[in-house]
Amino acid sequence: MHKSGMKPKLRLGFVVFGVLVAIEVAEYVLGTSIQKGVWPFLAVLAVIGAWPIVNYFMHIKQLWRPEE
């Protein structure tokens, strides 16, 4: 495997991390500023936050496409 392919993957890690931090901060702002009925929004944000980890960091697609 050629090392030139490594850099884009490392860069992707930073992008995913940035998205995850933005989601966590959005959750924090919502949760601490709205006092009532916030849980459906938090649930949606949690699912949105989990997906990049499962897809990009855990490579779930390898289960049905091992070459990924």
């Binding site: 495997m1 090392k3 392919g5 490594m6 993957k9 490392l10 890690g13 930073f14 995913v16 991390f17 995850l20 931090v21 966590e24 901060v25 959750e27 924090y28 919502l30 949760g31 601490t32 709205i34 006092q35 009532k36 916030v38 849980w39 938090l42 649930a43 944000l45 949690a46 936050g49 989990a50 980890i53 499962v54 990009y56 960091f57 855990m58 779930i60 390898q62 289960l63 091992p66």
Partner: protein, 186 residues
């Protein structure tokens, strides 16, 4: 002959991978049951004394550890031993930092919402169960780091790293749901 051996190796990794995902799936149900217990026992009430900024900080620390774990795995895949060691070491350090944060939360929690209260029961069970997973993740990462001194990880021979790192990400995913459930739902 060599091609057949390579295929057998790939098949074996595919089976290991499936086994790990099944294990993580079964663990998810445990976490789900504990998450639902929060709503069953406490509804959407939360104590005002919860340390919200600390909750956010330890969440970001855990996300940062997932980034370094991902980088460590990528380095192992491409045979960059120094990069692998550096990033896995950072991940282990961040894992310990997260545990220190949970320890601070616990010391405050014992004072404001002890385990004998409804919220305390949920808080200490969920964070304790999760912290135990963080600790086992740190041990798994330390094991692959030590093994890395003897074996060279590289293309086609990085399953140990992949397994430990996948487990670490799973622990992170669990926290992505635990954090809002405990700290932010109201």
């Amino acid at each position: 002959m060599a091609a057949a051996a390579k295929t057998r190796g790939e098949d074996r990794v595919a089976i290991y991978r499936l086994g790990l995902w099944l294990f993580m799936g079964s663990e998810s149900f445990l976490f789900l049951a504990l998450l639902f217990s929060r709503f069953y026992l406490q509804g959407v009430q939360r104590p005002a004394e919860l340390n919200q900024p600390l909750g956010l900080v330890i969440s970001i620390v855990l996300l940062l550890s997932s980034l370094s774990a991902y980088r460590g795995e990528t380095c192992a895949v491409y045979g960059d031993q120094a990069g692998f060691r550096r990033n896995i070491l950072v991940t282990i350090g961040l894992g310990f930092l997260f545990l220190v944060g949970v320890g601070i939360e616990w010391s405050e929690g014992f004072h404001f919402f002890p385990p004998s209260t409804g919220f305390g029961t949920v808080f200490f069970t969920l964070t304790g169960f999760h912290a135990f997973h963080v600790l086992t993740g740190v041990l798994a990462l330390a094991a692959v780091l030590v093994r890395g001194r003897k074996v060279q990880y590289g293309p086609g021979s990085y399953w140990a790293v992949e397994g430990a790192v996948k487990y670490w990400h799973f622990v992170d995913v669990a926290w992505v749901f635990i954090y809002p459930t405990l700290y932010l739902v109201s």
